[in-house]
């Protein structure tokens, strides 16, 4: 089930919220667990067993790691190999076979297997829980239902953010419910819904049209690159907003996952603002355990490259994702060695343009099926092959999507947030906010009804 669907909005959510708030506090976790399993089962009935089995493995090994301190490292290794092995099998096995086949003559048959929804997210949560228990940073959870509830919690189950156990450890036991928190959750959820349905999906529609076109003009390539870049941000951050909003409605506080990444003044800054839960996960569970930057320069470079190759691979089992990760890894190394210092002295506007260009190109790599398409889409931005500057088609789509692109550019910056938080207009904002949210909810619903089923871009990660 996805949040931006009629079944979720007008069936699952009201039923869940009503039951959740009607039952006494001690039953709330059970209700959440049942709702979350139903939520997952509805979208991925074939693989609900996989999630449940990995929850059981995580629970058992959590206890073993905590109980048998002497063997805890062994238990940690075995548990991580097991659950990461599941991820490897379901997500990467055909990628591995494909690459083996390209170098050996005896071809291995591909395995017909679908990628279970949300597996990359929930496996990472399990790993973080086990490592945190091993490190003593989290208390082991002895109630399997609570472990299951943490892993399967529906707001963040299928597309993140990657909620660490330590973030909600206390909230699993006791949560605060206030009208203020609930209304903040509603606001966040509806804004996320609007970002997803009214911006990301509309830009996605433009991208699909452009992809199907034989057009070659510089404007076309820029339109494709900019709309793709905005789409992925609004899609993913919209989903995170909805997840955080739902969390608040249910009494949880999840950490932020995005912080206006498109105003970043360097790639280092960008990755502090983009998919924060993933980058901090790799920092804390891969980069630092490898020695971080407190090792020789060679090892430090190795650590960075490992982290970024893994980050790329996390996004998908294909070489373009590896290149995408490496691209960022190399740029981050360059920034750490010398460019970062220069960027700090550079006017912010120029630093932002540099960052946006780098990020835009990164998403062309991210979305490209092969090297030819990637180089064509990047080359097209700079008029390679003497293509015309503008064509009737690209001009038509620019005009047709101009307002939505403009809204999404403004929405990628904190301008509106800053205006809304001005004290002088606070009362006015209070008056129009409920109307604005109602408007977004109605328009989003009308888009969902008019359009077809539109899964999230990050749905299959």
């Amino acid at each position: 089930m996805i949040f931006a669907s009629i079944t979720f909005l007008f069936y699952f959510l009201p039923i869940t919220l009503v039951i959740y708030y009607m039952v006494p506090n001690k039953l709330k976790n059970i209700i959440l667990l049942i709702a979350s399993l139903l939520f997952y089962f509805y979208g991925e009935p074939k693989y609900v067993w996989l999630m449940i089995s990995s929850i059981i493995i995580t629970y058992i090994f959590g206890i073993l790691i905590d109980k048998y301190k002497k063997q805890s490292k062994l238990f940690l290794i075995v548990s991580i190999v097991t659950i990461v092995g599941l991820l490897m099998y379901f997500k990467y096995i055909n990628f591995i076979i494909e690459n083996i086949n390209s170098i050996v003559s005896n071809k291995i048959h591909f395995i017909y297997i679908a990628l279970p929804i949300g597996i990359s997210f929930y496996i990472f949560q399990m790993v973080s829980y086990l490592i945190d228990v091993y490190r003593g940073e989290a208390k082991v959870q002895k109630n399997i239902l609570k472990v299951a509830m943490y892993i399967s919690l529906f707001p963040q189950l299928i597309a993140g953010p990657i909620v660490r156990y330590t973030t909600i450890e206390e909230q699993i036991e006791k949560r605060n419910y206030t009208i203020e928190k609930f209304s903040l959750g509603v606001r966040r959820f509806i804004i996320g819904l609007g970002k997803k349905v009214l911006i990301a999906d509309v830009l996605g529609e433009l991208n699909t049209i452009l992809l199907g076109s034989n057009e070659t003009s510089i404007l076309y390539y820029w339109l494709y690159a900019i709309s793709g870049m905005l789409q992925i941000y609004f899609d993913f951050s919209g989903y995170s907003d909805m997840a955080i909003g739902l969390g608040k409605m249910l009494g949880f506080e999840f950490l932020e996952n995005f912080n206006y990444p498109y105003i970043a003044t360097s790639i280092t800054d960008f990755w502090r603002r983009w998919h924060i839960s993933l980058s901090t996960w790799f920092r804390d569970y891969v980069y630092i355990p490898l020695g971080g930057n407190k090792v020789s320069n060679i090892k430090w470079l190795r650590n960075l490259l490992i982290v970024w190759i893994l980050t790329g691979l996390w996004h998908g089992a294909a070489w373009n994702f590896v290149i995408w990760g490496l691209y960022f890894g190399i740029l981050l190394i360059i920034e750490k060695i010398f460019l970062g210092k220069i960027l700090k002295k550079t006017p912010k506007i120029l630093a932002r343009i540099y960052t946006l260009l780098i990020v835009m190109i990164s998403f062309i790599i991210f979305n490209g099926d092969n090297v030819t398409i990637i180089s064509q889409n990047i080359g097209g931005l700079f008029g390679v092959n003497n293509i015309s500057f503008v064509s009737k088609e690209s001009l038509y789509y620019l005009k047709s999507y101009f307002i939505i692109i403009l809204i999404s550019i403004i929405g990628s910056t904190p301008i509106l947030k800053n205006i809304a938080s001005t004290k002088k207009i606070h009362k006015f904002i209070n008056c129009i906010e409920p109307i604005f949210l109602l408007f977004i909810l109605i328009i989003s619903t009308s888009y969902i009804i008019d359009g077809s089923f539109s899964p999230f871009l990050y749905f299959r990660f």
């Binding site: 069936y11 009201p14 009503v18 209304s183 034989n214 307002i403 939505i404 008056c431 009308s446």
Partner: protein
């Protein structure tokens, strides 16, 4: 408004809206069809363990929930209004409204498809129609006649050029100057039968039908026509009025539908969801019209799409029999199982819309 009051309004308002819509959807009686979209709506699925595990049930429920949503058409209208009037988008799902008429952008020209469509015509000509009089005409979609240059149109000249180059041994009948925008329905893609006199004359003349009589037709209004595009855009425009042309010859003709194995009349007055189905009972692979009042034994084969349904009755005066073949619904390899190719006149009559897709079998 104070912060607390705002929080209460937002929280309670949200829950109340969700619950109202939840209850309204539960209580609402399911619809079988959508009149405006002219299609069957998804019904609540049968739930079995296998279908549930396969994910079929959830997929069907998703479709069901969207299709059966309360005041669905109103919501679709809101979306259309918002995207066109607020976001100033040039089209909504590829459709747009201009001067009270609805258009669907047919863009871009898919040369590969046009080539395949034309190759199919050529293949049939070479296989079945040797030594026969073979003609072809291309029907422009109504966007061609739209004067404004704001929306995207296919390269009509290129499409014609492909056909002319590949079908050089067939006689081309150019009807493009015999039509204008008013000859098409405002809410539908098709042309109006009552406005086809010039086209009919051009075809008759080109096909060397010597005894062309200026026939009088009775123009009968058969009511409002909510065309294919009417419900697709979700904006309010006036429906079309639909007319049929009849005379004694047409009324005396009989049709035979091979698929339904039914004898009928040219105008099928049973209440179809699509009023355009009045012409020869709508889409069907193979049908013939027999004219008992014909002066000679001439026959005509028309390879056609749906535009041909409303045109064929106006050509019947010159023929004993017109057989209409729709290659979107039957394979050309089966043709000689049903048709004896002798010395019939042959007309390929396809719209640009069909040629730009690769749908001829």
């Amino acid at each position: 408004m104070e912060d607390k009051a705002r929080n209460v309004v937002i929280s309670i308002g949200f829950i109340v809206i969700l619950l109202i819509l939840f209850l309204a959807n539960i209580l609402k009686q399911d619809q079988v069809i959508s009149i405006t979209e002219r299609r069957k709506l998804e019904q609540f699925p049968e739930i079995t363990l296998k279908k549930t595990i396969d994910g079929e049930v959830s997929k069907s429920i998703e479709k069901y929930a969207v299709d059966q949503f309360i005041v669905r058409d109103t919501f679709r209208g809101i979306k259309s209004f918002f995207s066109i009037n607020i976001l100033r988008q040039k089209d909504n799902n590829g459709m747009f409204e201009k001067n009270g008429a609805i258009y669907k952008m047919e863009y871009p020209l898919k040369e590969e498809n046009v080539n395949k469509s034309v190759d199919k015509i050529k293949e049939i000509n070479e296989k079945y129609l040797k030594n026969m009089k073979v003609y072809y005409a291309i029907i422009p979609d109504k966007n061609y006649y739209l004067k404004e240059d704001e929306h995207l149109k296919i390269d009509y000249n290129r499409l014609k050029q492909i056909a002319l180059e590949k079908l050089e041994h067939m006689c081309y009948i150019d009807i493009w100057d015999d039509l204008e925008l008013n000859d098409y329905y405002r809410t539908d893609l098709h042309w109006r039968q009552e406005n086809l006199q010039k086209v009919v004359k051009k075809i008759q003349t080109s096909m060397e039908n010597e005894n062309i009589e200026e026939l009088n037709y009775i123009k009968t209004n058969i009511g409002k026509f909510y065309g294919t595009y009417y419900g697709q855009l979700g904006v309010n425009v006036n429906p079309d009025e639909m007319y049929i042309l009849t005379n004694e010859i047409i009324e005396n003709c009989k049709t035979y539908n091979y698929e339904k194995e039914e004898i009928g009349t040219i105008y099928d007055k049973s209440n179809s969801k699509d009023k355009y189905d009045i012409y020869l009972s709508g889409a069907t692979p193979l049908i013939y019209i027999e004219n008992p009042n014909a002066n000679d034994e001439k026959e005509l084969l028309i390879f056609r799409d749906s535009y041909g349904s409303s045109l064929a009755p106006l050509l019947i005066q010159n023929y004993r029999k017109i057989t209409l073949i729709d290659l979107r619904y039957m394979s050309s390899t089966l043709l000689d199982n049903y048709i004896e190719f002798k010395n019939q006149d042959v007309l390929f009559l396809y719209s640009t819309l069909v040629l730009n897709q690769n749908v001829l079998k």
